[in-house]
């Protein structure tokens, strides 16, 4: 590790980033999903010419507008933090982050200044079809905007499509398409936006349930439940499917993270998927880290192997295999990876010395090596391991990974059930008789937010100790600034975001109580 690394600084910088990202993600998913629900409702209005559908569309558009406006620019703070708190990382990632974030910025600017304005100001001023097209473009644009952020994040989970340039100490993109169609990016994008669709559907159903419980706005509530029920059910099935593909991808790109999800320490064939489990400590250790045992578990035999390789007899490596290595399965030990990472770093030291000695021929030769596939595959891909002190440092917090993963999955299945019940009671015309369900729907509004945040905690904490998988640990990424500054801005953010959240919730509740007034 760095001689001068201040762990308080690293921890506060991480906490600040987590706080900002968690708050930002309170606003984003509703925008992603509600924009499509509004577009579907407006399409029905344009097709049928029914003023009731116009009223429904405008009501949900109002709530979309409140959320959209309050959420604007909360993400920009994350970019500030990259430059201030994570300068080594920001420089090291080079244009890999720059290109997607620039596209996102341009897209967001044009989207927000044009089509959102038409959505809100354009009723009765532009043609119905142009207005409808604008609404759809906002929905597509908002989701495409999310694509670029998720592509950048996916690269941190699975860095591909770049070479490292020792001259600039930056990674340079050599294949935009590899970065864009990175396996992790594809599954992450689909999983994330579908979870936003699910969240918005639950939001619409929950508020509609409140109207039904309050004995008002029956038409709006029932029609909204119909649209959100269908959209939510399809989205929740997509969430489950993309969750499965994400798990497959992670088992290849981030096997330690994947094993931590399941608290799988010993690799095995016919590995079972834990449906429900409780972890406890044990006297066993990997290095200095305690191994968790199960106090209780229910598992589906062979399902984990089936999920990862499509064959229940396939071998799923456990944390021990991945740390200590397993020669018979072709798995390198972390100690070996540390050695290889150090060789890559030693070459970087030689490069610097050659530059200092004006030995340009040697410097160019070393620079060329960093572009060779064999060197990248055998050494540079383990560059981050050179910063590790002990092999067990690659193990993330297993309890956090296990519980966040299983709670998220359980909530996912709960949402499917809620959407099925909503459509069933609507179809049978018994929604009003089943008040218990209306209360369940109302109380469930918050749960997709919980599931979404758990997903991010899992993605980011499960990747630890890495900020960029295998290439850079968080401790090497942080800027050498005072932890006092980070603590001050942490408190400022906590206050700012809490005020924004209270503002959003109070404006939204007031508007919901007012109901549609068009």
């Amino acid at each position: 590790m760095f001689d001068s690394v201040d762990l308080t600084l690293v921890d506060w910088s991480r906490a600040q980033f987590a706080l900002t990202a968690i708050y930002h993600w309170l606003f984003v998913p509703l925008t992603l999903g509600l924009s499509f629900i509004i577009a579907i409702m407006e399409t029905i209005y344009v097709k049928t010419g029914s003023e009731e559908w116009k009223r429904i569309t405008r009501f949900w558009m109002t709530l979309f507008g409140i959320n959209f406006a309050i959420g604007i620019a909360t993400g920009i703070i994350l970019e500030f933090e990259f430059g201030t708190n994570w300068s080594n990382y920001s420089w090291f990632v080079g244009d890999i982050f720059g290109a997607p974030l620039a596209i996102e910025g341009i897209l967001a600017f044009f989207l927000e200044s044009t089509f959102v304005a038409v959505m809100f100001f354009g009723w009765n001023k532009v043609s119905k079809k142009f207005h409808l097209a604008s609404t759809w473009l906002v929905a597509v644009g908002a989701n495409l905007s999310a694509l670029w952020i998720l592509v950048a994040n996916a690269w941190m989970q699975n860095p591909v499509g770049m070479v490292f340039n020792p001259e600039t100490a930056r990674n340079e993109m050599v294949s935009f398409w590899k970065v864009l169609f990175n396996d992790v990016a594809v599954s992450k994008f689909l999983h994330t936006i579908s979870s936003g669709f699910l969240l918005a559907s639950m939001f619409v159903i929950g508020i509609s349930a409140w109207y039904l419980l309050s004995k008002r706005e029956y038409f709006l509530a029932k029609r909204s439940i119909l649209i959100a029920g269908i959209f939510g059910l399809l989205s929740s099935l997509l969430v489950a499917y993309t969750g499965d593909t994400s798990a497959k991808t992670l088992s290849k790109a981030q096997p330690v993270k994947f094993a931590a999800f399941e608290a799988l320490y010993e690799g095995k064939q016919n590995a079972g998927l834990v449906v429900l489990g409780v972890l406890k400590g044990s006297d066993k250790k990997i290095g200095e880290k305690e191994v968790n045992d199960f106090a209780f578990r229910i598992e589906i035999p062979g399902f984990l192997s089936l999920m990862t390789e499509g064959d229940k007899d396939s071998f799923v490596p456990g944390i021990k295999d991945l740390v200590n290595g397993n020669a018979s399965r072709g798995i390198l030990s972390v100690s070996e990876k540390i050695e290889r990472g150090k060789k890559a770093r030693d070459l970087l030291i030689e490069f610097k010395e050659a530059k200092q000695n004006n030995d340009s021929q040697k410097a160019e030769g070393i620079s060329g090596m960093f572009r060779e596939k064999k060197f990248i595959d055998d050494y540079f891909r383990y560059f981050g391991y050179a910063f590790l002190g002990k092999p067990e440092e690659v193990i993330p917090n297993v309890k956090t990974s296990f519980y966040t993963f299983h709670l998220m999955v359980m909530l996912g299945f709960y949402f499917i059930l809620v959407f099925i019940l909503a459509l069933f009671f609507l179809y049978r015309g018994t929604l009003l008789k089943n008040k218990w369900f209306l209360w369940v729907a109302l109380c469930s509004i918050l749960l997709p937010y919980v599931a979404g945040e758990l997903g991010w905690v899992l993605a980011e904490m499960g990747r630890q100790p890495w900020i960029i998988q295998d290439l850079m640990p968080v401790s090497a990424a942080v800027s050498q600034i005072s932890s006092g500054t980070v603590i001050t801005t942490f408190i400022l953010f906590a206050v700012l975001f809490t005020v924004l959240l209270i503002a959003e919730i109070s404006i939204m509740i007031k508007q919901i109580k007012l109901g549609p007034k068009y």
């Binding site: 760095f2 100490a169 050179a386 910063f387």
Partner: protein
Amino acid sequence: MNPVSSAMNRLLRFYYDGFRSMSWWGKRVWVIILIKLFVIFLILKLFFFQDFLSRKYSSDEQKSEYVLDQLINSK
């Protein structure tokens, strides 16, 4: 009036009318947006979130050298 000026006029009129006829929640969220942008860009960015490398070094070469040192100066 030429077609470009006419289109520009209509566009400005569109935004002007939109803002004028804004509902209570629209006005309120605009106030929040403006306060938020002020806090983010004029307080946080200026006083707390200066770019670390740009503050220390003026050229890309110096920044590269600094990060390279950070990458190789480990135990």
